[in-house]
């Protein structure tokens, strides 16, 4: 069982750090086209904020903020978003995962740009939710569920 840390420095710092890191995670996600990073890294960064919250503020804080079934749904939703981005081009007669054929009001090159953004978002959702889920299960021992 992870208890809340006694030090006010730790708890205050974690509270301050978590939203900042989350903002950085979102930046990594949407800026993956131009700079290092992308969905996977962004997902781990977002999940890491919940890990930090749990380590600093205790397991109860994590329980209040995270619903395991919602996490499972988000993880599945990420895969679904990826597959959907792959299937949508097929409606227009294109091959699976050919983002150039996505039904968007932009030209094919820009559509590919957005296709990459969609699937990166899907990857990020799945990775973030999965890591939080595994962590929840790992630290869960004497919690009545």
């Amino acid at each position: 069982m992870i208890e809340r840390d006694d030090s006010v420095v730790v708890t205050a710092f974690v509270r301050l750090l978590a939203p900042t890191i989350q903002l950085f995670g979102l930046y990594v996600l949407v800026h993956g086209h131009e700079s290092p990073g992308g969905g996977f890294q962004a997902g781990v960064i977002l999940a890491a904020t919940y890990l930090a919250l749990a380590l600093g503020l205790g397991r109860e804080t994590l329980d209040r903020r995270v619903n395991e079934r919602a996490c499972l749904a988000l993880a599945a939703g990420g895969v679904a978003l990826y597959v959907l981005t792959g299937v949508l081009p097929m409606l227009g007669g294109g091959p699976f995962l050919d983002y150039g054929e996505l039904p968007l009001p932009v030209d094919a090159v820009r559509a590919r740009y957005f296709g990459i953004l969609f699937i990166e978002t899907g990857v990020g959702l799945t990775v973030a939710a999965t890591i939080v889920l595994i962590f929840c299960r790992l630290v869960d021992r004497d919690r009545p569920s």
Binding site: A48, A75, Y113, I116
Partner: protein, 176 residues
């Protein structure tokens, strides 16, 4: 990045790995493993693989360390010593595989060789195509998410399956 820096990082990697293996208390071993992930990330960055460095930093140095710590909370900090015979088998195995890798390594083209087969065949196609075809200056993202999208889709499915497996296996056993 200069070669002495990479060499120093590699030496540090070996030291951290040995520390992680030798520690009798598993908590320092896990911390050394986290340090190993971080130095590995620095090494990737030093040889120019920034995206891999990023992943290694967040996963190898970050998430894995926390997972290991959580696993230690559930189990024990003490290491159970391996049986004597098994250690010799392990040493022999490591030596054979290590020598095989060292032998095969000579057949690989030099690092960063522009005339190496992979640099001549598909890489130029991706490098030239990424911006005009996908509007994505970061070629790594273009390759992962567009040119090799099937791979990434299956990787995402693997991650989801791993999470689902952990969720089901680590459930508390409720008395019926």
């Amino acid at each position: 990045m200069s070669e002495p820096v990479v060499a120093a990082l590699l030496v540090l990697l070996v030291l951290l790995a040995v520390t992680a293996i030798r520690a009798s208390d598993l908590l320092p071993a896990v911390v050394a493993l986290g340090g190993y992930g971080f130095v590995m990330a620095l090494t990737w960055a030093a040889i120019g693989a920034v995206d891999v460095a990023f992943t290694e930093a967040v996963v190898g140095a970050g998430a894995t360390t926390v997972f290991m710590l959580a696993a230690l909370l559930r189990t024990s900090r003490r290491r159970s010593p391996a049986p004597e015979r098994l250690r010799w088998v392990a040493l022999a195995l490591v030596l054979v595989v290590g020598l095989a890798i060292a032998f095969v390594e000579r057949a690989l083209p030099p690092f960063g060789d522009p005339a190496a087969p992979p640099a001549l065949h598909v890489s130029p196609r991706y490098l030239e195509g990424a911006v005009p075809e996908t509007d994505t200056p970061n070629v790594v993202t273009a390759v992962l998410a567009d040119y090799r999208s099937y791979d990434t889709l299956m990787e995402t499915v693997v991650i989801f399956t791993a999470g689902l497996g952990c969720w089901l296996l680590l459930r508390r056993h409720e008395p019926r």
